[in-house]
Structures are given as C-alpha cells and as structure tokens.
C-alpha cells in the first residue's frame, strides 16, 4: 500500500508539470494583454510608451517559454509570484480563498450527503412508490434549476419573506447556510440519483435473495451487503463532486459575497492575471490527484476482493 501511495504521489510531478505548462501556454496564446487590462481597467486609454514600459517592468516583454521557466524556478523555491493586478502575493490570496471555499465545499458536501443518502437508499428500496416518485421529482428539479436562480429564490424566501437570515451575513454561521443550501441541493439531487441507481442495481443481485432466504435481517443486508457493494460507484461520484466543489462556484460566490476560489479565478482570468490563474490550476491539480488517490484507496478498503494494490 505504501509503495502504491508513494508511486501515485510521484506521478503528481509529471501531472503538475503538464498541467501548469499547458495552462501557461494557453493563457499566453489567448488574446488579451494583462498590461492593457491592468492600465485600462477603468476605461482610461494609455499611450503605447506606457504600455511598453509597463510590459518591460512586469517582465511580459520576454517570450512565454522563458516566463514559464522563471515561474517554475520561483515555484521550486516556494514562491507562486505576485498578482499582476494588485501586486499581492498569490500564495496568500490562494490560502485565503481556499479557506472560504473549503468551508463552503465541506458544508455543502456534508449537507448533500445527509440529504442524498437516505433519499437515494429509500428510493432504491421502495422503487416506484409515491415517495420514490417525489424523490425523482426532486432530482429532476435539482438538475433543472440553475444555481443563480436557486440562490435568488432562497434569498427571497429566507431573507426577504421569512426574514430569518440577513443578506449580508458573511463570516457567520447564518452567512454560510444559504450558500451551502444553494450548492448542496443540486449536488444532492445528483448524488441521490447515483445512490438510488446503485442500490437498485445491488437489490437485483442474487446474493440479496440468498441472504433473505437465509433469514438475515433486512437492515443488516442493507447496511453490510447492499450499501457496501454500492459504495464503489457512489464513492467515484462523491470524489468527483468534492473536487468540483473545491474549485469554487463563481455564481454562488458572487451572489452571496463569498470570497472563494471560483470568484477569484474568474476575476483573474478576466484581468489576465496569469500568476493567480497558474496558482489556482496548480492547487486544483493537486486536490484532484489527492482526491482520486483517496477514492482509489477507499475502493480497496471497501472491497478486499479487488486486486491487491
């Protein structure tokens, strides 16, 4: 196991190199000049001399390959560089945004789990019943309603009509509730479908009939046989979902004034703030690789029949 984990972690090196190189190349080849964006951010035109002078000062007059090499060199020395936009260190910005996104992602994920596991299991067991149809309706609505609309509806309901939450409540438990709910509901609908489908699939297996015939209690069959076997496919979806959540959501973060990763990276792409985008890509690549690794390890722990890793 240790060998496998260290091998996977070593694979991070070429993955990170490839991802950051490609990102740097694409950003550099894409239209848009960070200097122009920085100096004309408010719509004031600048002369060519000022543009050239600023490009030189920021090192943007060098070929992108050299700039990438320089970025990589700094990275190996623990320096992610400074934002083109405001000169603040990228590492500090990322840490702050990650803290906010992490809190939101984890709370949304946990809430989605709390909703989806019982609903999915119930739907799988009581297939085609009234409640199952309601659950399927919830899943459909969760898929169909866009995040921004759900956010506004929730604000309208909880803040304007019921007045149980203030709109401006950043940094408090109250401030966390609505963005969590907005992120969790669509995710819960996706997870519910997955859990339901996996449970249904397992319910049709012969080992379930066998266990029933042997007189094993239904809850025991459900928890120790059906769910355990269903977890393999469910975990894959969970892993991917938490990765997506940790990338941040621009719309939710904008509406709820939540200073997370999504908003930060979107602003940075618009402003062609390459160092921030590079830092974000690097962090996300690490997160995805680690989550995938955890999911792979958990497969083995859940099902020892799987090939020894």
């Amino acid at each position: 196991m240790k060998r496998y984990v260290s091998g996977r972690l070593l694979q991070l090196i070429p993955v990170l190199f490839g991802v950051t190189f490609l990102t740097f190349a694409l950003l550099s080849l894409a239209p848009g000049d960070p200097v122009q964006k920085k100096l004309s951010a408010q719509g004031i035109a600048v002369t060519k001399d000022v543009l050239l002078e600023t490009r030189k000062e920021m090192g943007l007059d060098r070929p992108w390959t050299l700039r990438y090499a320089s970025w990589l060199f700094d990275l190996l020395h623990g320096d992610l560089g400074d934002s083109y936009k405001d000169g603040t260190p990228v590492a500090g910005r990322l840490v702050k945004a990650m803290k906010y996104t992490g809190i939101l992602a984890i709370s949304a994920f946990l809430l989605a789990l709390v909703i989806s596991l019982p609903l999915g299991i119930y739907g799988g067991i009581k297939k085609a019943g009234f409640l199952d149809r309601m659950i399927q309706l919830f899943c459909l609505a969760g898929y169909a309603v866009p995040g921004f609309l759900l956010a506004v509806l929730l604000i309208y309901l909880f803040c304007i009509r019921l007045k149980v939450f203030p709109i401006i409540a950043k940094g408090t438990v109250q401030g966390l509730f609505l963005p969590t709910l907005t992120l969790a509901l669509p995710l819960a609908s996706r997870l519910t479908r997955q859990v339901r489908a996996s449970v249904l699939n397992q319910m049709e297996m012969e080992y379930v009939d066998g266990a029933k015939a042997r007189g094993v209690l239904k809850p025991y069959i459900l928890i120790f046989h059906i769910l355990r076997n269903a977890m393999i496919s469910i975990l894959t979806v969970f892993g991917l979902s938490i990765g997506t959540l940790l990338g941040g959501s621009v719309v939710i973060e904008n509406i709820f004034m939540w200073p997370g990763m999504g908003k930060m990276v979107m602003d940075s792409i618009t402003a062609r703030d390459y160092p921030v985008v590079q830092g974000f890509v690097l962090v996300m690549a690490v997160i995805y690789v680690i989550i995938n690794l955890i999911v792979d390890i958990s497969y083995h722990l859940l099902d020892p029949r799987l090939e020894e890793i």
């Binding site: 848009g32 100096l39 004309s40 936009k85 702050k96 067991i125 409540a169 109250q174 904008n254």
Partner: protein
C-alpha cells in the same frame, strides 16, 4: 425500520434549519457589529474590493476617494470644473507651476500637509503607477512652508487636472506603513476596519480640516452581483449604491416614498470609428445619418444618455452639433453613389451587395449596441457583418481591420478635453485607427496641448470635435449614466457628480 430512520433524519434536518433560523435572527437589517443605534452610519454596497489601501497603485485611489479617506490637491466639481482642495491656488509661468497649499489642511493624525510631503507623494505615485510616470520626470522645489513648484519641462496646462486624479491622493507617507492595511490621509473619514478583498468600515475623522463630517461612519460591503445589492436595499441592509441596473431602476421609480433615484450622464462614452480607408465619404455620412442614438438610448432603458459629442453637454468643451437621423437623406447619398436596392432590400453596386464589417467587443453594452446598429443599418439597406473580438486593442484597434469599430472609454478623466482628443484624433494616436487625417485639426491639437486659457481650450476642443463629426470620422453614440439609488433621507453621495471616483464626503448625511 427505514421509515423510522428517514423520519429521524428529516426531523433532525428540520430542527437544524429551525435552529439556524432562530439563532440571532434580530440581526436582520440591523447595523453592523459594534454600531450603536444612535450613530449615523451609512451602509453602501460596492462592486469592487481592494486588496491593499495604497491610493497610488493602479486605480485604487478611486476607491479610497469613494470611501472619503483620501483627497487630492484639486477636486472636480459637479460641473466638471477643477477647484482647489488641499491646494489653495495654482499659477503657471511657462512650464513652471507654483502651487500654494491650503494652510488649514492636515492629516487625520494632526500632522500638517507640507510641500515636501506632497512632492514625495507625487513622485511615489509616478514611480508605482505607470499612467503617472510623467511625475517622475518633473523637477520639484519647495519655496516656503506652504508653496512648492513643479517644472514640467514643457508647457503643460493640464497639470492641475492631473492633480485632481484620485491616484495622486496625498497621504502621510511617514505614518501609513506600507499602506497595505493602514492609511493616514486627509479625508473626512478614516479607515476603522479593512478586510482585504472584502468589507471596509470607515469612521469620522474627528480632526478633519475642512469641517465636521455629518456621518459617524460608513460600511462598504463588497457585492459584485447587482442583484444582491437590489435585494439588500429592499431588505433595509444597505442605504445606497451606484451602478443601478435598468430593471432595478424601474422598480425604484415605482416606490418614490422609499427610494430616490438620481441619473446623470457620466464620463464613459460609447462611440464608433468609421474607417476612412475602407468607407468613402458618402457611405460614412449615410451611416451617421442612419444611426439613431436616441432610439439606442431608449432601448438601453435609461442606462445611457444619447450624446452629440464625446463630452457631457454641460461642459464648456461639449458644445458641438450633429445632423439628426435622416433615413431618406442616407438612402439618397447611397443612390447618388450608384447603389440600387436589390430584391433582398439591400443596396448593391456592380452586382455586389453593400456589406460592411462591424467589429466590437462584448463589454459595456457594446454587444447590444452592435446588434442595434446592425438592425438600423439593415433598415436603410446596408448589410452588416458583426465580428466580436475578445481583445479590441490587440485586434481591430491595432490592425484597423474593420469598417466600423465600436469602442467604449472614459472621455473625460479630469475635466479637460485634451486626453480624449489626443488619443482618438491626433496623428498616430492609438484610437485614431480609422484613417482620420486633417492638418488643420493637428495644428489645433498642438495648440490645445499648450494653451493655458480655459475658454480658448474649450473653443479649440469644440472645433476639433466638430471637424471630426463633420468629416464623419466618428460617431458618438451615448454616455453611460451614473445611476445612484438612495433610501429616502440619504443625501450628498456625489450623486450629481459625473465622476465615478467620488462618493462619501463631509456633507454626506442621512436622517
């Protein structure tokens, strides 16, 4: 069994939700933490957030000015006229400006504003902000306790306009640290709480040199989404904000007993460049006679005001005229040029449809403007092909590859016409990319560069712009409106000032 488990889970969920809801529910619509109810604290939403407080960096001075924390030597009033603020007077003798500081002006820590400190600020701003790098090239000299000189090398009449730019704010550099989280300046308010990238709170500067601020303080919430501001003001959680969207404005107009909406033409201009290298005089004239700015303004539903020239009509340098839209005259011009209408309703000549290429970028409503212009030109019989570019400066503005090029920029950055004229009409200017060339205009621009008499400057500017309009080199469509909403009782938030960088002042008040 499963039903029981589900019931327990659902019950727990509802209980948690109820507890969340009950917890501290009195906070809805109340003042922020630490605010006593008898204090006058205005709550504002802003669509930007600062990472540091350095007013000299990039456009950050705009925001510290909005917060009422920083001030400049000169100020732009509601009529776009430069008036002294930290400075008492300024006079020029050739290239040498003599500036006398206001003897009463001092920083929030009680230290006086000295010529030496002002010079250090101007030099620092020039060093870290490339748009003001000219301030590193000037020669400064302290004359006495309140007076200093700036030698600009060549005659530079716009110096005091530059000195009204919020990026040239005067801070106490000895007591502001690295200006990342602290700033000592001269404004009616001081920073009391600063969260980089988030909320900023300011409190009254008890030692303000220019009278006592009427408010005790203000809170600026970062709300990048206009919809959130709309809901927050309805919920009584904020008192005012600017950049109101047209649909929100419509709602506020329906509730005059609660809200006051102020709309004025600001300084951001939507315009188009007609490429003289690819369109002849008749086609350019026909285009200008077809484009109906009023109809475009009406479609954009109060977010813009139609304009004749690039500057607001109240400015002395905004007195120009243009022909009213006249579709018949436009058609006559095209027909006089040998075009005939084909069965599709488009003009054609020698079997070739009259088709023009309109380039734009999707920001500042230019996408809507492009579609409206396409529609209006189609009605006359001109086929328009639209091209949307991500980076106008790197594409059609740089190459001149367009028949009509749309652009949006601030036309009046500091109460003077030279900046806009110089970057759109001078030979070789970055936005004179449509082949406009007029020797008389170039001479006038040269004269404008050094002319010190304000009236003569306005006259020259009007002549230059009028020539550009008459030669159909450009089409000036609309000025974006500055739309401010306040809850009734809030006043003095610079709602009548066309510049975006003013908001809080000592006169800001609320009932």
């Amino acid at each position: 069994m499963m039903k029981k488990i589900l019931a327990v889970l659902l019950g727990t969920g509802f209980m948690t939700a109820s507890l969340y809801g009950c917890h501290n529910s009195t906070a809805v619509g109340t003042a922020p933490k630490g605010q006593a109810s008898d204090k006058k604290i205005i709550r504002v939403s802003e669509s930007f957030a600062l990472q540091t407080l350095d007013p000299h960096l990039d456009y950050q001075g705009w925001y510290t000015s909005i917060y009422g924390v920083t001030e400049t030597l000169f100020h732009m009033n509601d009529q776009s006229t430069v008036t002294p603020l930290l400075a008492e007077s300024a006079s020029a003798n050739g290239a040498v400006w003599s500036i006398r500081l206001n003897e009463k002006a001092f920083f929030s820590n009680g230290d006086p504003v000295t010529p030496d400190m002002v010079i250090r600020n101007l030099k620092e701003a020039g060093e870290i902000n490339f748009r003001f790098s000219n301030f590193t090239k000037y020669t400064y000299a302290v004359v006495d306790k309140y007076t200093f000189t700036i030698d600009t090398g060549t005659i530079y009449p716009m110096l005091i306009n530059d000195l009204a730019s919020p990026e040239l704010a005067i801070a106490d550099l000895d007591h502001s640290g690295d200006k990342k989280t602290g700033l000592v300046a001269t404004g009616p308010f001081v920073i009391s709480s600063f969260e980089p990238g988030g909320t900023i709170e300011v409190a009254r500067n008890e030692q303000y040199w220019n009278g006592k601020a009427k408010l005790d303080g203000a809170v600026f919430y970062y709300m990048p989404e206009a919809g959130t501001s709309f809901l927050a003001i309805q919920n009584g959680e904020i008192d005012t904000y600017t950049s109101v969207t047209s649909d929100a404005a419509e709602q506020y107009r329906k509730e005059p007993e609660t809200y006051t909406l102020t709309t004025i033409p600001a300084t951001r201009l939507q315009f188009y460049i007609l490429n003289e290298n690819r369109m002849n005089a008749s086609l350019r004239k026909a285009t200008n006679l077809t484009i109906d700015s009023k109809a475009i303004g009406a479609y954009l539903n109060g977010t813009v005001s139609e304009t004749v020239g690039p500057f607001g009509p109240s400015a002395s340098y905004g007195k120009v005229t243009k022909a009213k839209p006249d579709v018949k005259a436009a058609k006559a011009l095209l027909e006089g040029d040998g075009y005939t209408i084909n069965s599709d309703g488009y003009y054609e000549k020698d079997g070739k449809v009259l088709s023009i290429h309109l380039a734009y970028y999707a920001a500042r409503s230019l996408d809507t403007l492009a579609a409206l212009m396409q529609e209006q030109l189609k009605e006359v019989g001109i086929h328009v092909v639209l091209t949307c570019e991500e980076d106008p400066d790197g594409t059609y503005i740089a190459t001149g590859d367009f028949d009509i090029g749309l652009f949006c920029m601030i036309s009046d950055k500091a109460g003077d016409p030279y900046y806009f004229i110089n970057c759109t009409l001078a030979d070789g200017a970055p936005y004179n990319c449509g082949g406009f060339k007029n020797d008389q205009v170039q001479l006038m621009i040269k004269e404008l560069e050094t002319e010190t008499d304000t009236n003569k400057r306005a006259q020259l500017a009007n002549q230059v712009i009028q020539t550009a309009i008459d030669e159909d080199a450009f089409g000036y469509v609309a000025l974006f409106n500055k739309i401010t909403v306040t809850r009734n009782g809030v006043k003095g938030v610079a709602e009548n000032n066309p510049f975006d960088f003013y908001f809080l002042s000592a006169d800001t008040d609320m009932d």
